[in-house]
């Protein structure tokens, strides 16, 4: 059976209450075709396992130095631990040698059965709270076979299923996944194709087409990562609300930008280019929320 299908997973988060109704388990798949500069989970972007470094946990014990076949790690009391990312070939042997959760693996290859077993641990909570499982990322549609098989297996177990997606995939692929999905948390970043392309690396034509096709097939929530000066104008949000009405979205969520992704970028040894001061003000967000509600689509902030 296809439960041996493997996916690259970077986190399985139990007791998620913001990724759909009730108490849920969110499975985070690694790898995303978009490259949004504000990404709050930058560790989810690449399609390969990576080394995450939590410097604060390091006790300079030096166990990782001999563990690295490339000789990419140096430790001294004076300089602390220095990892040469150029030399590092991501074999991640250092992770096994670290006792202090200072060197961490991000991205593990898991089978559908393995993930399902963990998801089913909390079945009793889903039953009692109207919850279920959510696949998030990264981009679940970027690993379409795994995503479909996992969702099919969850459906077979009678679980409520949701995916969080940017909607970028061929419609055939997406449609084959949606067969096993009750709720889609559909990201809407910008309605203007050019701006979309400029900031995320891809245009939005396919995304919006997929969204319109998905309407009616399953329940839809639109999610807007709200970034000051980028997509938080009244007119833009009004248009999002209109789109919501058109696709009969049951809810539109505004997710105000936060700098949570910054620290994680640094842990990955990546630069974080997104400028500061892009978090929208609370009052403004609330006004936008009311604006959406006025069109008749329920709206929320933060989930």
């Amino acid at each position: 059976m296809t439960r041996d299908e493997k996916g690259l997973i970077f986190n399985i988060q139990k007791f998620s209450v913001h990724d759909g109704p009730g108490i849920r388990t969110t499975v985070f798949l690694k790898g995303c075709p978009l490259a949004c500069a504000w990404c709050s989970n930058p560790e989810s972007q690449r399609f390969t396992p990576e080394l995450m470094v939590r410097g604060i946990n390091c006790r300079l014990c030096g166990a990782c130095v001999p563990a690295c076949p490339q000789g990419a790690i140096r430790v001294s009391k004076k300089t602390g631990r220095i990892i040469d990312r150029q030399k590092c070939d991501l074999c991640l042997k250092c992770v096994d040698s670290c006792l202090y959760e200072s060197l961490l693996r991000c991205g593990t290859s898991m089978t559908v059965s393995q993930v399902l077993a963990e998801v089913l641990q909390d079945r009793i909570f889903y039953n009692n709270s109207g919850g279920g499982v959510t696949l998030s990322g990264g981009e679940p549609l970027a690993q379409p076979d795994f995503t479909r098989e996992l969702l099919a297996a969850c459906k077979q177990e009678g679980l409520h299923t949701a995916i969080e997606t940017a909607g970028i995939a061929s419609w055939d692929e997406m449609a084959s996944v949606l067969d096993f999905v009750d709720l889609v948390l559909f990201d809407v970043k910008h309605l203007d194709d050019k701006i979309h392309k400029k900031t995320t690396g891809v245009g939005n034509a396919l995304i919006l087409e997929n969204l319109r096709k998905a309407a009616g097939l399953c329940q839809l929530w639109l999610r807007v990562p709200l970034i000051s000066g980028f997509n938080d104008s009244t007119i833009h949000i009004q248009n999002v609300a209109k789109l919501g009405l058109e696709v009969k979205a049951s809810k539109i969520s505004l997710l105000p930008y936060h700098e949570g992704g910054k620290a994680k970028s640094l842990q990955q040894g990546m630069a974080y280019a997104f400028p500061e001061g892009r978090a929208p003000g609370e009052k403004h967000v609330e006004a936008l929320r009311r604006l959406i509600e006025a069109t008749g689509v329920p709206a929320s902030v933060g989930n």
Binding site: F15, S16, V17, I23, L99, I124, F125, G130
Partner: protein, 802 residues
């Protein structure tokens, strides 16, 4: 006209917290400069004075009669007063900010405390002189003196706290049969006693003298309670005559009428029932140092409230107001404990809890308006006591879950939820008949009792399970002194698997339980001889019928004495770590590990980390959880091989108060990676602090693997962020509670506060004097805790939102 009651925020200001501040951690000092009580609290010597005076006058008489006369002397002569906002009256001291100490049990502690810096505000110089004089009389006569004198040599060394257990003399609980009292009134009860007397006068049974003396004493004490209430009636009448304010005059008249009526006669109205209860409750404290409440408040008062409501005598609002006034009164109770005991009672006032919800003896749900009004009183007042115990069963209405969530949201730490379907089978195993088991109530913390039954429970000792494991890893020999203090278990070098460790641990648990029980048996018998309770006996089922004081017999089940076990989760994690690191990964031998632990991991942080990284209880990982289930069950089984004076097994119990912090000071490093003195997991079912990494659903799943029936009555703390209680997440929280119920977990309670608030309160106590946290089975003002205990609470894993 509806009588006016102060608004909750004004009433709250009337509370002067009598909570104990923990000034010791085991034998070490713990911020004792703060003082053991808030500075406005006074040690009131009235009870000690009147009791001593009576004892001097009654020398040579039967002890049970002496006790009754001493109680009469107190109730007839103590100073009484009524405060200007009260509708329910009665104080245990003559000073509104007073507390007392049971001098006849132990006089050394208050004397030492009053002389020390930690107790200097309790008494003025004249008070200290008087206390000293009173103590002179009790030298050699107090229960504590007698206990130390009569103990066999081999037990004497275990009397002193060493770190494995703290045997404690105080804390006796119990729930009178209020239903019967309300039906008969004390006058009716006296008539019953007289009938019994007439019967024995006729029959002259073999224990005639014993019975006659007891029954005589019972009548003396009940008469004293009636006249105590009449003194309040007279005072209210006099005050009413002088009172100019018409509405206050009316209230005073009502008080006079109520106190004239109850507790002598059955109550007719809600307010009379409440006042009746309060007089009995007060005198129960005054007769003998005690704790807890335990009434099923909705079930007990429901009929009176409903009758008043139907007949137009009361409104819902007024009922709520009366409950709030009662809440304030309950906060006026408190006792002076010994400084060492403060290490387990950090922040405790009087450990009082009321029970709501659940079923009657036939399994019928008891929820009524008062179930909700009781929760509303707590929600509006936000004070530490009484804690509310909410019994949940399969037919508990949804509205009760919702109301409970609204109260939990305030952060006061209660209601704590008890799961009938998990607990009743446990009580049945203890030998409690099913119809009695269904009537259970909780007196305080998680102390389970059956209302009206002669349970007379004592929490006998605080029992440090990780220290038992430590002894097992040292063959019972103290490595510093070479002394054989624990059981002579095999040399750990010979252990072939973790099962051998577990067996040695269970033997140490049995060995020390025998010591605790040995101390307790002697004490228990001393209490029977020297501290009979004629008043309390007469308000319980069975004593009048048998003509016997409650200390001479017991309700026939193992629902009696227990030790409060702490650190069971740490023991489980430690044995799991030994299995993984020593026997599976073979990183190190067991003797090597023990040598490293004995140096508190010094220089071997790698081994400590390996132990920390071994699977831990609380992550829904069978590897750790199944060992935890076995460790808990084996420990309990070992305890239950030891029997009390009446032949009932000694048990563990989850009501660990602040001992998980206070007594951890004297347990060196343990193989779970814990360092010397580091606090234990904060409740018997809770994962060790910070070791649960998979969130609150995994915690519940792990916990559900520990069988309640195979173990004991547990406690589980969870900490949630306030934002989890915002409206849109309420369904998720309700789902969490329902799952807790379905997983058959016996208990759960919540701290709802964020780290930032706790840190701010630690830094600026003056601004956060009302901040309440749940410590164990009780709530406390955060500012009353020592900085170490504050840290322990801050460190508890906060279940955050993703």
């Amino acid at each position: 006209m509806q009588l006016k009651i102060l608004a909750p925020e004004k009433l709250r200001k009337k509370v002067v917290s009598r909570a104990i501040r923990n000034i010791k951690r085991g034998n070490a000092d713990d911020d004792s400069k703060r003082g053991m009580f808030r500075p406005e609290i006074r040690l009131d010597l009235q009870r000690s004075r009147l009791m001593t005076q009576s004892y001097k006058e009654t020398e040579g008489e039967a002890m049970v009669v002496r006790r009754a006369k001493a109680l009469s002397n107190i109730l007839n002569k103590m100073g009484i007063f009524i405060r200007d906002y009260e509708r329910i009256v009665g104080y245990q001291t003559a000073d509104p900010n007073g507390i007392f100490h049971p001098i006849e049990q132990n006089w050394k502690s208050p004397l030492r405390l009053a002389k020390s810096a930690a107790g200097k505000t309790l008494l003025d110089a004249a008070g200290r002189r008087e206390l000293k004089k009173l103590c002179d009389y009790w030298k050699g006569k107090s229960i504590s003196d007698r206990h130390q004198e009569i103990l066999p040599e081999h037990l004497k060394k275990y009397w002193t706290y060493e770190g494995t257990f703290l045997w404690s003399q105080l804390s006796e609980l119990g729930i009178p049969n209020y239903e019967k009292l309300f039906k008969l009134g004390l006058r009716g009860l006296i008539a019953e006693i007289r009938e019994k007397m007439a019967q024995i006068d006729e029959e002259i049974p073999g224990d005639y003298v014993e019975q006659k003396e007891f029954l005589t004493a019972a009548i003396l004490s009940l008469e004293a309670v009636i006249s105590f209430a009449r003194r309040y009636a007279a005072l209210a009448k006099k005050s009413a005559a002088r009172q100019k304010n018409a509405s206050r005059k009316k209230i005073l008249a009502e008080i006079a009428e109520t106190c004239e009526r109850v507790p002598e006669h059955p109550p007719r109205t809600f307010i009379e029932a409440v006042q009746f209860f309060y007089f009995i409750h007060l005198v129960r404290y005054l007769e003998y140092s005690t704790l807890g409440i335990g009434i099923r408040i909705d079930q007990l008062f429901g009929p009176y409230y409903e009758k008043d409501l139907k007949e137009g005598r009361i409104t819902k609002d007024e009922t709520l107001g009366i409950l709030q006034l009662l809440w304030i009164k309950l906060n006026e109770l408190g006792l002076v404990y010994s400084p060492t005991v403060s290490s387990v009672y950090g922040g405790v006032a009087s450990l009082q809890a009321v029970t709501i919800g659940g079923t009657d003896e036939n399994g019928k749900d008891v929820t009524n308006d008062l179930t909700y009004l009781t929760m509303e009183a707590a929600r509006t007042l936000k004070i530490i006591e009484p804690s509310i115990v909410l019994r949940m069963h399969n037919k508990t209405p949804n509205a009760v879950y919702e109301k409970a969530t609204d109260v939990i949201k305030t952060g006061i730490g209660y209601p704590s939820l008890f799961n009938d379907e998990a607990l009743i089978p446990l009580f049945e195993r203890w030998g409690v008949p099913t119809e009695d088991a269904k009537r259970y109530a909780v007196t305080g913390c998680v102390y389970i009792e059956i209302p009206g039954k002669n349970v007379v429970r004592r929490s006998v000792g605080y029992f440090v399970l990780p220290k038992c494991l430590w002894w097992a890893l040292h063959s019972g020999v103290n490595p510093k002194t070479g002394e054989q203090h624990g059981a002579r278990t095999p040399d750990p070098a010979t252990f072939k698997s973790w099962h051998d460790v577990l067996t040695a641990y269970a033997e140490q648990v049995r060995f020390f339980t025998e010591k605790i029980e040995g101390l307790e048996r002697v004490n228990n018998e001393l209490l029977m001889h020297y501290a009979p309770r004629p008043f309390y006996s007469s308000i319980l089922d069975g004593c009048i019928e048998r003509g016997q004081d409650c200390r001479k017999w017991v309700y026939n089940s193992m629902l009696h004495h227990f030790s409060q076990v702490i650190g069971g989760t740490n023991v489980a994690d430690a044995i799991t770590a030994i299995r993984k690191v020593v026997f599976e990964d073979k990183k190190i031998t067991l003797p090597e590990l023990i040598a490293i632990m004995d140096k508190n991991w010094e220089g071997r942080d790698d081994i400590r980390q390996a132990c920390l990284n071994a699977p831990k209880f609380g992550n829904d990982d069978d590897y750790a959880d199944l060992i935890a289930a076995e460790v808990q069950a084996r420990g309990e089984a070992a305890m239950e091989t030891v029997k009390d004076r009446f032949g009932h097994p000694h048990r563990g119990d989850g009501s660990a108060v602040s001992a998980t912090y206070g007594l951890a000071a004297d347990t060196p490093a343990t193989p779970d990676g814990r360092q010397d003195g580091e606090p234990f997991s904060d409740s018997t079912l809770a994962p060790a602090p910070g070791r649960d990494k998979k969130g609150p659903t995994a915690v519940l799943k792990s916990v559900s693997k520990i069988s309640t029936v195979d173990t004991f009555n547990h406690l589980l703390n969870q900490k949630f962020l306030p934002k989890f209680f915002e409206e849109d997440l309420k369904p998720a929280f309700l789902g969490y509670l329902k799952t807790w119920k379905e997983l058959n977990i016996p208990h759960i309670q919540f701290n709802v506060v964020d780290r930032e608030t706790l840190l701010a309160a630690k830094a600026r106590p003056d601004k956060y004097s009302d901040l309440i946290v749940r410590v164990a089975g009780f709530s406390a003002y955060f500012v009353d805790l020592s900085s170490g205990l504050q840290e322990h609470i801050i460190a508890r894993t906060e279940q955050s939102l993703k």
